[in-house]
């Protein structure tokens, strides 16, 4: 049960990363490599503020705001200075590595003994249930794990909901059109450059939020924690799209959540069954492949059955 709760929590935290990647890669068709840097940036800023004693909610929001800034820089580099989109992402990501070191003052900030969302959730849970562990359907569960999951789920729900609503507004629709057909939307008088900048700000804000939550959940911020994360985010987006078989806005957002959570659940199963650690990466690759291939296979199968 602990493992299930843990992987759901991690899955939901990384959902925010997946949503960020979804915005840049899918909506804007902008391969934004800033993600690796902004994840660690969110973690770094939040960690430093938490150590200073700031309230965890503000520290978390500040982390997300730092990500928004990073996204703005990438966007401006691309739209104002006409730097290739891949390159501007790489530039900012590289710069962020040093920035993060500078922000933290060292490469690793422990959060074990400071007040963080994790400790707040624990305190709230113990207040609510009256003790530190309860029984859930017969399984013993730490209240802390449960409230942290609830907390993260609420954040993710709020993020998904507001994203959905935002992309249905006039500005949001214009943004989506910027990715789909920039010529057409420019002809309609929408400043596509600004749309991209705002989109990247949104995307990196979500990613930094994800990093901030991850750091608080695992108890430390590390300058290397972002490396390679973007790939997992992208994998979750693709798995999600394959699962829902649709590119409709609402469904893809739900797909992102499902893809990310499912991915972590599958890894948890692999770990629980004690598979050889050396083959873990291979197994995760097989999972991703299966998630990609299965839905279309099932689709083919049902169509054939339909014809018969």
């Amino acid at each position: 049960m602990t493992l299930l709760l843990g992987s759901l929590t991690i899955g939901l935290i990384l959902t925010l990363l997946a949503l960020g990647v979804y915005i840049s890669f899918r909506i804007f068709d902008f391969p934004d490599l800033t993600a690796d840097g902004s994840l660690a940036l969110g973690a770094a800023v939040s960690a430093v503020l938490l150590v200073q004693g700031l309230h965890p909610v503000w520290a978390t929001l500040a982390g997300a705001a730092a990500g928004v800034l990073a996204g703005a820089v990438t966007g401006l580099l691309h739209t104002r200075f006409r730097i290739n989109n891949l390159l501007s992402g790489i530039l900012v990501m590289t710069a962020l590595y040093s920035t993060n070191l500078y922000v933290m003052g060292r490469s690793n900030v422990p959060l074990l003994s400071v007040r963080s969302l994790n400790s707040l959730a624990e305190a709230a849970g113990v207040d609510f249930f009256g003790r530190a562990d309860i029984s859930l359907f017969g399984w013993p569960v730490m209240v802390r794990d449960l409230t942290m999951l609830g907390c993260i789920a609420a954040v993710v729900l709020a993020a998904c909901g507001s994203l959905y609503l935002f992309f249905r507004t006039q500005v949001g629709t214009a943004m989506r059109a910027t990715g789909e057909n920039p010529l057409m939307i420019r002809a309609l008088g929408v400043p596509t450059g600004w749309m991209i900048v705002v989109g990247l700000m949104l995307s990196n804000g979500l990613i930094a939020l994800s990093g901030s939550l991850l750091a608080q959940y695992q108890g430390f911020a590390d300058v290397q924690m972002g490396i390679g994360m973007m790939v997992w985010g992208l994998a979750s987006v693709i798995i999600g799209e394959a699962l829902v078989q649709s590119r409709k806005l609402g469904l893809t957002i739900v797909g992102c959540v499902m893809g990310s959570v499912l991915f972590r659940l599958l890894i948890a199963i692999a770990l629980r069954w004690g598979l050889n650690p050396n083959s873990l990466k291979l197994i995760t690759a097989v999972f991703v492949l299966a998630a990609l291939v299965l839905p279309s296979l099932i689709g083919q199968w049902t169509r054939r059955k339909g014809r018969a």
Binding site: L3, G6, N108, P110, R131, A132, G219, G228, S246, P277
Partner: protein
């Protein structure tokens, strides 16, 4: 809406499937849903080693019997911290707190709890009490049937007679034993009565020297020696026990041994210390509590004397004796604690098996040479400690393959599988463990000093569930070696990786050591392994006399580029990792990571045998290996002094050995 449901159904089904697979794997962990969990309170009078050991033993015994706090029973712990008014308050709170059972440790706790529970509203189990019959709680030695029906427990009277038999076995010609005792202590008198009986039986003359206070102890002990005592005995006497040194010192001057009824006295210089193992006493108490929780009537359990013996032997003392004392082999084998001839404790001489089979989990971040060596050390250390795989423990290894999210899941998996003890290798693993785990022991290896990784406190007083061996390169020793090899050197150079916490920390430590030894340190950052070559070239132009490379993953991987740059500038390279000596370093002084892992495993073994991690201080790796590569030295025209080569644990390319 329907369309949306249809589209998401596949994902939802798969998620539900995955979740149920996970939960099904956990089915055994699911506790039987009984209507009500029993509620018990553990009440200890103070934080003393004997009482803490008892509580720990009690909890272990309850767990073995299926009563796990928080899962199958509710348990609250109380400690009066030596304060009688507090103890009274606690006893009242327990009595009226809706508990089913109170478990008390120590005589005062028994007494106040019994007083508060006169009506017998809750069952009361007691342990770690010298003599319950004289505690005034309604128990009578002569009339065992007359007792409160809600009270059960154990007495633990010191093994007085047994220690005299042991002393006789060590020196069969023993005829006269002296004892200093305080006349106003009932417990002391009770012990003395037993001693008199046993001595009469063994034909030993017992010389007595009564005292009133601790200042008289030294003179009393001297008087016993001058009256011809061949050995001194210390019984259960608080006054004398607090001034053990005053008995041991004159005895050692006269070359005669002291034997005592408390294992801890062996550390203070007594030859033999035979006392009760309070962990075992706690276990016996816990077993009794479990019996009662399972429905046994307290009144049907006889109140007995329970003395699981624990023997401590001091070999350093044995070596200094006048008479031909010797410790028989069977005695030596039964000793739980042996103080060696050098005055240090020898571990694992007697290897009692742990109380239960331990589920061990080892979690590491990635595969790397140092990590593999450490893991190997842990595996061999566990074997060396006398524990048997399969009987005493099972070990599973989890490797996160460098992914922090996966490492999170590894820890969750370990918790779900109810691992009893978790080994961590690498600093992030330790940090994550400290964040996630507070209720079971963590033993770390190959990590930064935990005080730098988020723990607060000192090396002695730290997180109560964490113990282990941290990694710090032997910087100070290295400075000495550099002084020997390059007396004229002034500036040392190293590359570091700003992104690795170990690297930055080692740079700072090296800086301190270098400055203390009168060197200047030029440290050059390199942010990725591809930058290392250029950074090394830049370093060689900073006027360094020697590159002495600190340990980190990046610079170890890119070490050949450092060597190339150094060779171009004709600079020697030293390092802190043994493998580097084969990859272009002339000399390495490294922590023996395998030995670090071994030491961590020995710490784990101590925990499994009942010690608390809280009482085990954080230590650094102690063993270092000096490796010299003479082939590289010759190529570089570098002279390694003969004294250093002589000292080396390993010499590569010695003259006349061929290639």
């Amino acid at each position: 809406m329907w369309h949306g449901l249809k589209r998401t159904s596949l994902g939802l089904i798969l998620m539900a499937l995955a979740a149920s697979v996970l939960l099904l794997s956990d089915r055994p962990q699911r506790s039987a849903r009984n209507n009500r969990r029993p509620r018990a309170a553990i009440f200890s009078f103070a934080s003393r080693p004997t009482l803490d050991d008892s509580v720990r033993g009690c909890l272990d015994a309850l767990a073995v019997r299926g009563f796990e706090p928080g899962l199958t029973m509710d348990l609250e712990r109380f400690n009066a911290e030596n304060d009688l008014p507090t103890a009274n308050g606690i006893a009242k709170a327990i009595e009226s707190g809706g508990f089913d059972m109170a478990i008390t440790f120590s005589t005062p706790a028994l007494q106040v709890m019994a007083a508060a529970n006169r009506e017998g509203r809750i069952v009361h189990v007691f342990g770690t009490v010298t003599d319950p019959f004289v505690s005034g709680v309604g128990l009578c030695r002569t009339n065992l049937a007359s007792r409160p029906a809600w009270l059960a427990g154990l007495g633990t009277f010191q093994p007085v007679k047994e220690v005299f038999v042991m002393a006789r076995a060590c020196f069969p010609a023993l005829k006269t034993v002296g004892v200093v005792w305080c006349t106003s202590e009932t417990c002391s008198e009770a012990c003395l009565k037993l001693a008199r009986e046993k001595c009469a039986e063994l034909g030993i003359t017992l010389l007595e020297a009564p005292v009133q206070s601790s200042v008289e102890v030294l003179d009393a002990a001297r008087s016993l020696i001058s009256r011809g005592a061949e050995a001194l005995w210390i019984g259960g006497d608080n006054i004398v026990e607090t001034s053990v040194a005053s008995v041991v010192k004159p005895a050692m001057e006269a070359g005669i041994p002291v034997f005592a009824n408390e294992p801890a006295h062996a550390k203070a210089g007594a030859l033999l210390g035979l006392g009760a193992d309070y962990y075992e006493v706690g276990k016996a108490t816990g077993d009794m509590a479990a019996d009662i929780l399972n429905g046994r009537k307290p009144a049907s359990i006889p109140i007995e004397n329970c003395v699981p013996q624990q023997l401590a032997v001091n070999l350093a003392t044995l070596a200094k004796l006048r008479d031909p004392w010797r410790i028989p082999d069977d005695l030596m084998k039964s000793a739980a604690i042996v103080i060696g001839a050098d005055g240090k404790r020898i571990d694992g001489v007697a290897s009692p098996a742990p109380a239960r089979k331990w589920k061990l989990r080892l979690i590491e971040l990635v595969e790397a040479p140092a990590i593999e060596e450490t893991r190997q050390g842990i595996l061999s250390g566990l074997k060396e400690s006398g524990l048997v795989e399969g009987r005493d423990y099972e070990l599973h290894i989890g490797d996160a393959q460098g992914d922090l999210a996966t490492m999170n899941s590894l820890f969750d998996a370990a918790l779900t599988e109810k691992a009893d003890l978790i080994f961590t290798i690498t600093t992030p693993a330790l940090q994550m463990a400290m964040q996630k785990i507070t209720d079971r022991p963590i033993v770390y290896a190959l990590a930064l000093d935990p005080l730098l990784a988020g723990d607060t406190g000192t090396h002695e007083r730290h997180r109560p569930n964490v113990a282990g061996v941290y990694d710090r390169s032997p910087f100070e020793q290295m400075m000495g070696v550099i002084r020997e090899c390059l007396p004229e050197a002034k500036t040392l150079g190293t590359l570091y990786a700003p992104g690795e916490s170990n690297s930055v920390n080692f740079r700072d430590e090296m800086q301190k050591a270098a400055e203390a030894a009168g060197y200047r340190l030029a440290a050059m950052p390199a942010n990725s392994s591809t930058e290392v070559g250029d950074a090394a070239l830049a370093l060689t132009e900073r006027g360094v006399d020697l590159i002495c490379q600190i340990n980190d993953n990046q610079n170890e991987a890119a070490f050949p580029s450092i060597v190339q740059a150094a060779q171009r500038a004709r600079l020697p390279v030293f390092g802190f990792s043994t493998g580097l000596a084969r990859r272009g370093a002339i000399l390495t002084l490294s922590n023996d990571h395998e030995d670090g892992g071994r030491e961590a495993a020995l710490i784990a073994a101590r925990i499994m045998r009942g010690e608390s991690p809280a009482s085990i201080p954080y230590v650094g790796i102690t063993k270092v290996r000096l490796t010299v590569n003479l082939t590289t030295a010759r190529e570089m025209n570098f002279y390694v002094p003969e004294a250093v080569v002589q000292r080396a644990d390993e010499v590569v390319g010695r003259e006349g050995e061929g290639k």
